[in-house]
């Protein structure tokens, strides 16, 4: 996967499958420290130690439809190729936290990509899991909280055409304010 937003989509789906009610996605950019950090935290069912030790194995998955997992190992490989690090912590019943860091100026660091699209797809998940997205740069930060959005919308579905287009441009415009462009 060439874009960070694709990784986020992929990893957050794990959280949604793990019956989380909230998935928190944090990105912190710090060019001064040459650090680009992605953190994804959920409050799902978590994993025991044995499972946790296997998640970075490309041939491990909890699915029954196929025999390879690949999602987490690919992100791990990507961080390691970019002079970064990868960490995943989990306790059964206590949710899972994943931290991936990249060298900010590393030439292979994946671009953020279509993050607005990722958010819209995640928002429309079938389990009604809430999503929090916080993006920090040296210029400021942007917060996107699906609980706030749902609160405002009342019963109006998120997937309505007008709402979807609004949210998309809201995310893009706000990210531009803190100087992130695709």
């Amino acid at each position: 996967m060439t874009e960070l937003s694709l990784h986020i989509l992929d990893i957050a789906q794990n959280s949604i499958r793990a019956k989380s009610s909230l998935v928190e996605i944090y990105i912190r950019e710090n060019p001064e420290k040459d650090c680009y950090k992605l953190k994804i935290k959920d409050n799902g069912i978590g994993m025991d130690e044995e499972t946790l030790n296997k998640v970075t194995d490309p041939f491990f998955t909890s699915r029954s439809t196929r025999k390879v997992g690949l999602g987490i190992p690919m992100l791990k490989q990507n961080t390691e190729q970019c002079g970064g690090s990868f960490l995943i912590e989990s306790t059964p019943g206590g949710g899972t936290t994943l931290v991936a860091t990249f060298g900010y100026r590393h030439i292979d660091r994946p671009i953020l990509g279509d993050i607005a699209g990722t958010m819209l797809i995640l928002l429309a998940n079938e389990n009604d899991t809430d999503i929090l997205y916080r993006h920090q740069t040296l210029q400021g930060e942007f917060n996107f909280d699906s609980r706030e959005i749902k609160n405002i919308l009342g019963g109006v579905p998120l997937v309505t055409k007008e709402i979807r287009q609004f949210l998309k441009s809201m995310i893009l415009e706000n990210l531009e304010q803190i100087q992130i462009s695709e």
């Binding site: 996967m1 694709l6 989509l9 992929d10 789906q13 499958r17 699915r63 439809t65 196929r66 390879v68 997992g69 690949l70 999602g71 690919m74 279509d114 699209g117 990722t118 797809i121 429309a124 998940n125 079938e126 706030e148 959005i149 405002i152 919308l153 009342g154 109006v156 579905p157 997937v159 309505t160 055409k161 007008e162 709402i163 979807r164 609004f166 949210l167 441009s169 809201m170 415009e173 706000n174 304010q177």
Partner: protein, 131 residues
């Protein structure tokens, strides 16, 4: 300079949309709508399922076809990703493989609008004569 959209703007938009929906919704139950499921696990994402999904959503919006597009997990046809499942009310569901933008367009034009099957079907619900 244009103003940046905020949550306050969303509140305004909500009222507009709400009145529109109420007008439209009579007799418009989700189970009567065409439903498209896009397989969006690691295998699908890596093969471009996100683009396919965005395209489907945009094109259906653009053509004014009322349909629900949702994501689903891996259906086990990783070799044929991106895969989509098309459910038309009252009909058996059909799974298509290798759905890029061109294929998605064809599926909308032929399968959804005209009810003709398109090449590229994965025989998911394989049935024998005894069934």
């Amino acid at each position: 300079m244009t103003k940046i959209k905020s949550l306050a703007d969303l509140r305004k938009l909500k009222d507009e949309v709400q009145s529109k929906i109420q007008l439209r919704e009579k007799g418009d139950h989700p189970e009567n709508l065409v439903h498209i499921k896009v397989s969006m696990a690691t295998c699908g994402i890596a093969s471009g399922a996100k683009e396919t999904m965005n395209y489907l959503v945009e094109e259906l919006d653009h053509q004014g076809i009322d349909a629900v597009v949702t994501q689903t997990g891996c259906m086990g046809y990783c070799y044929a990703e991106p895969t989509i499942e098309v459910l038309i009310p009252g009909k058996e569901s059909v799974v298509y493989g290798f759905v890029d933008k061109v294929k998605a367009q064809e599926i909308i034009e032929k399968h959804i609008k005209l009810n003709e099957l398109v090449d590229g079907i994965i025989p998911a619900n394989y049935k024998t004569l005894e069934d």
